[in-house]
């Protein structure tokens, strides 16, 4: 393989890595704070794409505005889902919340089928994103570059929120010790709502980058990136944001590079990735960067 093709693949891989990574961080964020695997995350991602699509289509809003409105709406959706489907079950065994998130995922998908229709729609792609940059022999999609740049920005913003703001501190404390946090006067409900808002916003941002690459949106579009991000977060260590990002990254790389270097086996890519997940969980049940959480007898 020549260097230009290799570079193309690498840029592709890195940008996809960031997309998966951002969605994975969204998962990890929610899990870290409320210890819930939010199966509906991928479908919130899907709703984000539709929000932006309709805002742009029906209200004729310029692209950037549609995206921002979409992010806001998605955050509200995330908060709403938490209040309706997870908060009432907080005091019951975890399995109820798990099942609820599965049910929510199911509900969102079917809702989308009925309300938005099952046919694929085309996500609006602004002119600057359609370009292909040519650097010498290497052809790179503008989308990929934008994705990488903005993903880094998002990660920096997220880090700032977590490390430097009060609410970020509250989130970190809550993820360490739920009960003590409440005793310390932290407004748990508000913190959890904010966590879901933030996680959903991350999903929305990833949805933008995803839809720019694959402009065909449809109700089940969240399944694939959602399950990828899932795997990434779990492999990386589901409480660890760093792990999720790295996991998403590795997964994105694998998704692009495997078929590139081993085209004969491209069909088995799914099987390989899931097998990887299973293996990691068997040998490192808490993920590569996760913490041991033993149960006291």
């Amino acid at each position: 393989m020549d260097i230009s093709l290799f570079m193309q693949h690498m840029v592709n891989a890195i940008s996809l890595g960031f997309v998966f990574g951002l969605v994975a961080v969204g998962y990890a964020l929610v899990y870290g704070v409320v210890k819930l695997v939010n199966f509906a995350h991928g479908d919130v991602f899907m709703m984000a794409a539709y929000f932006m699509f309709y805002t742009s289509l029906i209200f004729g809003a310029p692209w950037l505005s549609a995206v921002i409105i979409g992010i806001v709406l998605t955050s509200l959706l995330g908060v709403g889902i938490e209040k309706v489907a997870y908060k009432p079950l907080r005091k019951y065994p975890r399995i109820n919340s798990l099942v609820s998130s599965i049910g929510m995922s199911f509900l969102l998908q079917n809702f989308a089928v009925v309300v938005f229709g099952g046919i694929q729609r085309s996500f609006p792609v602004p002119e600057p994103m359609k370009k292909t940059l040519v650097l010498g022999e290497v052809r790179v999609q503008a989308v990929s570059i934008y994705t990488i740049i903005f993903s880094v920005v998002v990660v920096l913003i997220l880090t700032f929120i977590l490390q430097k703001t009060k609410i970020g501190l509250a989130m970190r404390i809550l993820s360490r010790d739920f009960d003590t946090a409440r005793l310390m006067g932290i407004n748990v409900n508000r913190t959890i709502s904010f966590t879901f808002a933030l996680g959903s916003a991350l999903a929305a941002v990833s949805a933008v980058f995803w839809a720019l690459r694959y402009p065909q949106i449809f109700p089940f579009m969240g399944q694939y990136p959602g399950s990828r991000a899932f795997i990434a977060a779990v492999v990386g260590g589901i409480g660890s944001l760093k792990g999720a990002l790295i996991g998403g990254f590795v997964l994105g790389m694998l998704t692009v590079l495997l078929p590139a270097f081993f085209p004969e086996y491209s069909g088995y890519r799914e099987a390989f990735i899931f097998a990887l997940l299973v293996l990691v969980l068997i040998f490192k049940p808490n993920g590569l960067f996760g913490q041991e959480a033993g149960e006291k007898a």
Binding site: L36, V37, V84, A85, P88, L89, Y92, R94, I95, N96, L98, V99, S100, I102, G103, M104, F106, L107, Q109, N110, F111, V113, V114, G118, S227, F230, I231, V234, I238, G267, Y268, R269, E270, A271, F274, A275, L277, V278, L281, I282, P285, E295, A297
Partner: protein, 347 residues
Amino acid sequence: MKRTTRVMLSILLILVIYLFVFFAEKFMDPFIKRVLNTGFIYVILAVSLNLINGFTGQFSLGHAGFMAIGAYTSALLYMSPEQKLSNFFMEPLISPLDQIQIPFFWAIIVGGLMAALAGFIVGAPCLRVKGDYLAIVTYGFSEIIRSLFNNLQNITNGPLGLKGLPTHTNLWWTVSWAIITVIVIKRIVDSSYGRALKAIRDDEIAAENLGINLFKHKVLAFVVGAFFAGVAGGLLGSLLMTIDPNSFSILFTYQIITIILLGGLGNITGSVIVGIGFAFLMEGLRFVEMPMKIFGITIPGILGMRMLIFSILLMVTILFFRQGLFGHREFSWEGLAKLLSKRKVSE
């Protein structure tokens, strides 16, 4: 009530059921028969999933994967060589599968056994993996199967699937297997092994500190559950006459989960009633997807409305009927006797 009385009553009930099957097979509308068949297959799936999720408390999302294994294994065994030849036109089926043909009954059994083997392979690592993660691993397993079956062109015919499967499935088969499933799993649950499984569900550490081998018992639940899921898959294949890897996806598993939640986790009676009910409800609700004429106005059908209604149903159950519609109330002959004697007293 003495045990022998209960056994006699149960045998009587089974005979009555078979009498019903006899007449149904002869005279019943084929459409309703098909729905009933589907219903009994759902019963097998729900009761077997309940063993893993409800009684042992292991949250498995892999049931569709076990179904797929059973469906494909049995289909490849009961199809004739000619049928296989016409299906595998892109890439021939590997030998000796292309020549083998065995009777339906044995094909189903082997399908179940292959699924049971998968249950062992999935169950073995599940010891190391707790609660939420188990859901993810089993989901992953189900997807691995789907991906593999989509790619093994010379074994499963890939995404084309298998078409023109001979219809062996009828009420005799589905009812019999449903009865076997219910009896076997009920026997397990009522025995000392059942107590061990329920202990694992309630408190793993306490169970372990009573000398219960967690690994052995969790794997047991998986293997038995997977076997019956494989059987159900095999029966479904012959009922639908066509199978493909993508029909055995996580969405199918979600439906079975809906059934066991509605019926009550750890409730066999609930799984039976809701299983059959679900099949009818699914068919009955088709009308919302068809155009309807009301007062001369045609209201167009909304595609996907059926599943949306089910999703809402599932959420309502999760939020308001956490114990399912039947909670922990199981059918028992004693319970029935008490109910009838109460009625008599008040008359």
